[in-house]
Amino acid sequence: MTWFKKKPDAKRDVIKEISNIEKRFEVFRIGIALLISMVLIILVIALISDDPLGAIRELLLGPLQSLRRIGNVIELMIPLTFTGLAITMVFKTNRFNLAAEGAFYMATMVAVLVALNSPFPPVITIILGLLAGFIVGGLLGLIPALINLKFGANELVVSLMQNYIVAFFVQYLLNYVVRDPNSYAIQSYALPESVSLFRFIPGTRIHVGLILMAVVVVVAYIILYRTKWGYVLRVTGLNEKFAKYSGVKVAFVIIIAQVLGTAIAGLGGAVEMYGIYNTFKFAASPGYGWDGIIVATLAKLNPAFVPLAALFIAYIRVGADILNRSTNIPPEIVSIVQAIIILFIAAKAFMKAAKEKKIVEKSREVASEGAN
């Protein structure tokens, strides 16, 4: 029953169909990247393991085998979502400020300092600690942004160097300020027992940070796609000169995005501290800031996809940990997966030829229809 339909204008249709082809290929590309990485990891395991089938089962299904393990995945997903979101906000303006890595680490320490020194009741202490993490994160994001604005130094370089300074400063604080001399391990004094986030699923360490995380994701999404501030942020990231010409205060927008984004990483650090630990024992940064880059890339810089990407990374990490405990395969095997994913998603040329061929075919098809 198509004869009464208005004959579509050939040119308009083509634009739509090409847009669709492009979108489909984007999804397809990520799928293929995930697939290739999984195949490769299975190959590696098959080569080095005595019991390849068992090992692969541990890796792929291990995380589902007990409530505690499922809990581990969710627990890991929380910090990864925070840092992934942080990197997403920063990268949206097309500036590659990686201060989120240092911000997360610093904020865990700041949360400890607040918890150890706060004269207030636990609830207020927790709020203060989270706020402090957020603010310290924002400040760390501000420094590379300002240096770039005033002196033109690339924020990527500045933030990378800043991460070293922050890391050593945190280690200084650990060794000389908060370290518990009565403990053999290098760790801080224990936090007051009540300064911790409520764990609401028995048998796991899943804490209310999960809810806070969900709220931050939703708020970030809304700001980015439903408010004028998000609009200027996106427009600035897509074409800075166009934004400037349109009357946007570009320098201000770029700085705000870096500060806010990095602040989210800081908040994540404080949440992680109060949610999972009762003393500070990170002798080195857990590196969740770096993981944030992977998560943000996998989520295509869309806050709505960040938790999913974080869940995926958390899942394979936990799988690899389980594998490591039951076999002799090191957990670093996960790095292979991550590297391949990033490589394929970032490589614009990957599957480009196939996409272009498809588009050319479609155009030819529509063009010949138009001629008839």
């Binding site: 040119k11 308009r12 249709d13 083509v14 634009i15 739509k16 090409i18 847009s19 809304i222 439903r226 408010t227 004028k228 609009y231 200027v232 996106r234 427009v235 897509l238 074409n239 000169k241 166009f242 934004a243 400037k244 010409y245 349109s246 009357g247 946007v248 205060k249 480009k352 996409k355 272009e356 588009i359 050319v360 479609k362 155009s363 030819r364 063009a367």
Partner: protein, 518 residues
């Protein structure tokens, strides 16, 4: 012209990877010793067809024959070896090298390990004398006029033995005087047995100099004609698909207050060169003031100052009451009633990776009627976008289409829709119709006149003589950063006179130019 066919392109189809069909079964056959016009509107696929011939682009299907033998051209180097030369619309010259160095680059005569500069100069002299091109081989290219630069480009092709010469819109950047000089030289080349493919959309020029014309429309071959057998009207119908009778109807001018006033404006660029030198003029409500001039004579820098993109200048600019330099941000200027169609569409005019809607609201996203509390009013924004898309005839099925999917003309309509649809006191239109089809250009011209009739002041910058002369009420000519002439009315102005001012051959006195400021 002999009847000896030297080059044939048969059924060439080219589809770009983004799905754009640039050529569909295009044909071209060029004879020995002829000037063959390749006619078509902007976007008709002329340049693409020639890029295929020159090996820059690769065709999807078709066949190319040179002297009856099929050839495969995969790179410009191969094309040059086959005796094909191309002069691009945008010159491929190194400004800091001399004429000789530019011409012999890649085929340098050597003395031992070093360049034999003397021999190189002689080689250049020899060809330029042979074809009667007057260029000083020892001059730096940056010191040459546009017309001379073009000659250097042509010499570059000739010295490499080009028998077939492709000229991509060679007259677009030339003044009338330079154009007639070029035509004489092309005649000389023709007599010496060269074939010339002359890409153009200017019918009068084609009629004047070409032997035959191949017409293209929207990538499709329309036929090849002997110039003697067709009229300008016939050609235009073939090219555009309908008769174009264009003369802009303008009501009598109704002048109001001064909106924009520029006093003693001076701009020094990063290299310490004075690019805008003591410029004075004023634009009033209901007036279209045109700024004519060959590109690169200070127009861009001048506009950057007026639109807030450049804030380091000497002198005074006052725009509808705003004159404190500290306050001269784009935002403040726009709030004060300045709208701006920028010269460079892809860099400033649009955000090509963003949707049409996001492009349309970039100058008003913070207005109260598009926001509800802290949120964007999505309904209002959708209504606005759909309305403007309809009103400005942007060809798309959705406001969410990414701007990069649109053709140049449709992109420019998006820019026009944004910049011409808010309340304004002055519109700065910088090359508003460059590189777009005749239909869209006419549409934009009509809109500009409509705004003028409503009492908006318009500053129109264009390197296209026809455009400034058709649309403007009054006219300024810029030459080397200065105002070379001012015409209160352009009724009695001829293209030739205008050309002489654009070239710096003539210059008005201070007295005469002063008229621009009142």
């Amino acid at each position: 012209m002999s009847n000896n066919v030297v080059l044939e392109m048969k059924n060439i189809t080219k589809i770009y990877p983004n799905g754009v069909i640039a050529n569909k079964d295009a044909n071209l056959s060029v004879r020995e010793s002829e000037i063959h016009a390749l006619l078509g509107e902007n976007g008709a696929g002329k340049t693409t067809l020639m890029k295929i011939l020159f090996g820059i682009e690769h065709y999807t299907s078709g066949e190319i024959l040179l002297n009856g033998k099929p050839i495969k051209v995969t790179s410009p180097l191969e094309a040059i070896d086959l005796g094909i030369g191309m002069v691009h619309q945008h010159f491929m010259l190194d400004e800091r090298l001399t004429v000789t160095e530019n011409i012999i680059l890649g085929m340098e005569p050597k003395k031992g390990l070093s360049l034999d500069y003397k021999k190189a100069t002689e080689m250049v002299k020899e060809v330029s004398e042979k074809y009667n091109f007057k260029v000083d081989p020892n001059k730096l290219v940056m010191d040459l006029s546009v017309g001379k630069k073009q000659k250097v480009e042509i010499l570059k092709a000739l010295i490499r033995g080009a028998k077939i010469l492709i000229l991509d819109e060679p007259t677009a950047v030339l003044t009338p005087q330079e154009t007639s000089e070029l035509f004489e030289q092309l005649e000389t080349l023709k007599k010496q047995g060269h074939s010339i493919v002359f890409i153009s959309h200017k019918l009068n020029e084609v009629k004047e100099i070409c032997d035959r014309a191949t017409v293209m429309r929207l990538g499709v071959y329309q036929g090849t004609y002997n110039i003697e057998d067709v009229t300008v009207k016939d050609l235009s119908r073939l090219m555009i698909g309908r008769d174009v009778v264009r003369s802009i109807e303008k009501k009598t001018q109704n002048l109001g207050d001064v909106v924009l006033k520029v006093d003693n404006l001076k701009v020094i660029n990063d290299e310490g060169k004075i690019v805008v030198n003591d410029v004075n003029f004023a634009v009033r409500q209901g007036q279209i003031l045109g700024i004519a001039g060959v590109e690169g004579n200070g127009q861009r820098e001048l506009i950057d100052c007026i639109t807030g993109l450049e804030t380091t200048f000497v002198g005074k600019v006052s725009l509808h009451g705003l004159e404190d330099k500290q306050e001269f941000s784009v935002k403040n200027l726009r709030l004060n009633g300045m709208n701006h169609i920028p010269e460079d569409r892809l860099v400033y005019g649009v955000s090509s990776e963003a949707s049409i809607q996001d492009n349309i609201i970039s100058n008003r996203y913070d207005q109260a009627d598009l926001n509800k509390g802290i949120f964007q009013d999505r309904k209002a924004i959708t209504t606005l976008s759909n309305e403007l898309i309809k009103q400005y005839q942007v060809k798309t099925d959705s406001k969410d289409t990414l701007v990069r999917m649109l053709s140049g003309g449709n992109m420019q309509k998006v820019v026009a829709a944004r910049e011409m649809s808010t309340d304004m006191k002055i519109l700065i239109a910088d090359q508003p119709t460059r590189g777009i089809d005749v239909g869209t250009a006419a549409f934009i011209h009509d809109k500009i006149v409509e705004l003028r009739d409503k009492g908006v002041a318009v500053l129109l910058v264009s390197a296209d003589i026809n455009e400034v002369m058709d649309v403007s009420d009054s006219l300024i000519v810029m030459y080397e950063g200065k105002i070379a002439a001012y015409f209160d009315s352009i009724k009695d102005l001829s293209q030739e006179t205008l050309g002489e001012y654009m070239l710096g051959i003539k210059k008005m006195s201070e007295e005469e130019i002063r008229g621009a400021t009142v």
